[in-house]
């Protein structure tokens, strides 16, 4: 390798590098604005009154109209919808984590012939679009009187969260050394106790990742909820939002408030757990 390097070449190279870096940053910042400005616009507009919105839609609000929010919250039934979404998502999250991690434990750590085959069976679920099962599921659930109830939403949501939960949790359980379980058995521990006291605490990160993913995807799910739910009292947030679509609504600013209400919870969750969410979704997607 050439040890003596001409100083001017190094200098030139450095300058070139600086320019390239500057250009990269400029591009990234412009792109970031394209991502953030629409969201900011919604936030600002949601605090305006309608007359000002029509004359100057891109200006700052003169006085803040928090009434838009209270209107959307009560008259737009978004309050009920938010509560419903919370109930559905939290229940789904808990149930799918318990059921999914139990199955994952059986697949990863219990010893039986068909564990690989069973894993494949669950993985099929990741390839199937929800649209395909929508109609038969709807017919089935109406005959069981489960449509228009939150339970009727939670059951399919749990099921659709299972494949990814099982996939990720199997990975986590497999990484726990067998010696730990052997020690537990020698101490006279039964398998369910072993699961609760040895396996679960070791897989905390896995729970974090799967929990966040299931929360985010169920919070945003529209199609199934729209088909299953028609009563106002049990609608979830995305469903309640759809009735704002179309030109028949004249109170634009309240719709903007509705949008803010719908995205704020996920934005907060995202700000706190961004790295875990990203990691989990990537891990899940890779399998998909």
């Amino acid at each position: 390798m050439n040890v003596e390097i001409d100083n001017s070449v190094v200098e030139k190279d450095k300058n070139k590098r600086k320019v390239v870096h500057g250009l990269i940053y400029a591009f990234l910042i412009i792109l970031a604005l394209i991502y953030l400005l629409p969201l900011l616009w919604v936030l600002l507009t949601s605090l305006k009154d309608d007359a000002i919105l029509m004359t100057s839609p891109w200006a700052f609000p003169e006085h803040l109209m928090f009434e838009n929010y209270s209107y959307a919250w009560t008259m737009g039934h978004l309050g009920t919808a938010t509560l419903n979404s919370f109930i559905v998502c939290v229940t789904t999250l808990l149930v799918s984590m318990i059921v999914g991690s139990m199955a994952a434990f059986a697949i990863a750590k219990l010893r039986w012939k068909f564990s690989k085959l069973t894993l494949t069976y669950f993985m099929i679920g990741m390839m199937i679009p929800i649209h395909c099962v929508l109609i038969p599921l709807f017919i089935q659930f109406s005959s069981w009187k489960l449509t228009n109830s939150l339970v009727g939403l939670i059951i399919p949501y749990v099921t659709f969260s299972l494949p990814i939960t099982i996939y990720i949790m199997v990975g986590f359980f497999e990484s726990i050394p067998n010696e730990l379980f052997e020690a537990a058995v020698i101490d006279g521990c039964s398998v369910p106790r072993m699961f609760v006291h040895v396996a679960l605490p070791m897989a905390r990160t896995g729970f974090m990742v799967t929990g966040l993913m299931s929360f985010v995807s169920n919070w945003n799910e529209l199609l199934l909820a729209m088909v299953f739910i028609s009563k106002e009292e049990v609608k979830t947030l995305p469903v309640s939002l759809t009735k704002f679509v179309g030109p028949y609504h004249t109170n634009y600013t309240q719709m903007f408030a509705a949008i803010v209400i719908a995205v704020i919870p996920t934005i907060i969750v995202y700000c706190i757990f961004a790295n875990q969410i990203v990691e989990g979704l990537t891990a899940g997607a890779v399998k998909g």
Partner: protein
């Protein structure tokens, strides 16, 4: 030890809940969907077996299905190509900077976790002439009056109508973060030794990108592409929320909205199932093709 872990009762106890749920809520309905798709089945009418009637009707008589297929396939090709390009460019740029990498990454990924229903509404407003882009163009003096600007969501001219193109850009905006993330994960897994060795041999960073990075992330290209393809075939929320019902007639339908309309507006459940089956088969074919042609044996 071994005996305890082999005990049948334990296995059944741990597996049963997931297995039963999965079978009842996913596996049986899939089988039923295939069966219903072969039946003449309308709400409140008895089921009649009709053979392949639904499929024949779907592909020969149904004009809306043609539009839906056309639009869905357009979405698919558009998203595969653009997401591949932009996702790669973003991933390459972000891995090359140090300051603020996480911040930018998290910003670009943000829309992926937000509700498409809400974002659809947001962009509908942006493209509404009286409010959004047209008004902005008016105040900047690009057009004289907001009504003269393009009718982003209402123009029905052309083979692929403007609203569909607009929606596909919105989808790109929303989901490109995911492709970026996948590529970044793969790039960060490449050992830096390879780059150092290449640099010693006089390889520039552009060359390194094309000669080292691209070939090494090819398996991920297949994964990301099939995700995009399936995602865009399943497209529903954005289309449903950005185009008010009945505004463009049938011209803005995609497979999912067509399925929804047929099954739950016109109560043709069997017919809807046939669309669902077509959708499923398309997803499987596309995944198969992409994995066959893009995926190569991994290098490491």
């Amino acid at each position: 030890m071994d005996k305890l872990l082999r005990k049948k009762s334990n296995i059944i106890l741990f597996l049963a809940p997931a297995f039963i749920l999965f079978t009842v809520v996913l596996f049986f309905p899939i089988c039923k969907a295939f069966y219903y798709s072969l039946c003449n089945y309308k709400t409140n009418y008895p089921i009649e077996f009709a053979g392949v009637d639904n499929y024949v009707k779907l592909f020969t008589k149904d004009e809306t299905m043609k539009t839906a297929l056309k639009n869905s396939i357009f979405f698919m090709i558009f998203s595969c190509v653009t997401q591949l390009l932009f996702g790669l460019v973003l991933a390459a740029l972000l891995t090359n900077i140090k300051k603020g990498r996480n911040l930018f990454k998290n910003i670009y990924y943000l829309p992926c976790v937000l509700s498409s229903a809400a974002l659809g509404l947001l962009w509908m407003f942006v493209f509404t002439p009286t409010l959004g882009i047209n008004k902005m163009m008016e105040s900047l003096g690009i057009i004289e009056n907001y009504a003269d600007g393009p009718q982003w969501l209402f123009n029905t001219d052309g083979f692929i109508i403007l609203p569909i193109i607009v929606i596909s850009f919105v989808a790109l905006w929303q989901y490109v973060g995911q492709s970026m993330m996948l590529y970044m994960a793969q790039i960060s897994g490449i050992s830096s030794d390879i780059y150092e060795a290449a640099a010693i041999d006089g390889c520039t960073s552009t060359q390194a990108f094309f000669q080292i990075t691209l070939p090494l992330i090819k398996p991920m290209v297949a994964t990301a592409m099939s995700l995009n393809a399936i995602g865009s075939l399943k497209f529903f929320d954005l289309v449903y929320n950005m185009i008010p019902e009945g505004f463009l007639g049938n011209r803005a339908h995609v497979l999912a909205t067509h399925l929804y309309d047929q099954a739950f507006k016109f109560n043709k459940l069997g017919y809807g199932c046939a669309i669902g089956v077509v959708l499923l088969i398309m997803c499987l074919i596309v995944t198969f093709l992409i994995n066959k042609f893009v995926k190569v044996e991994s290098y490491e």
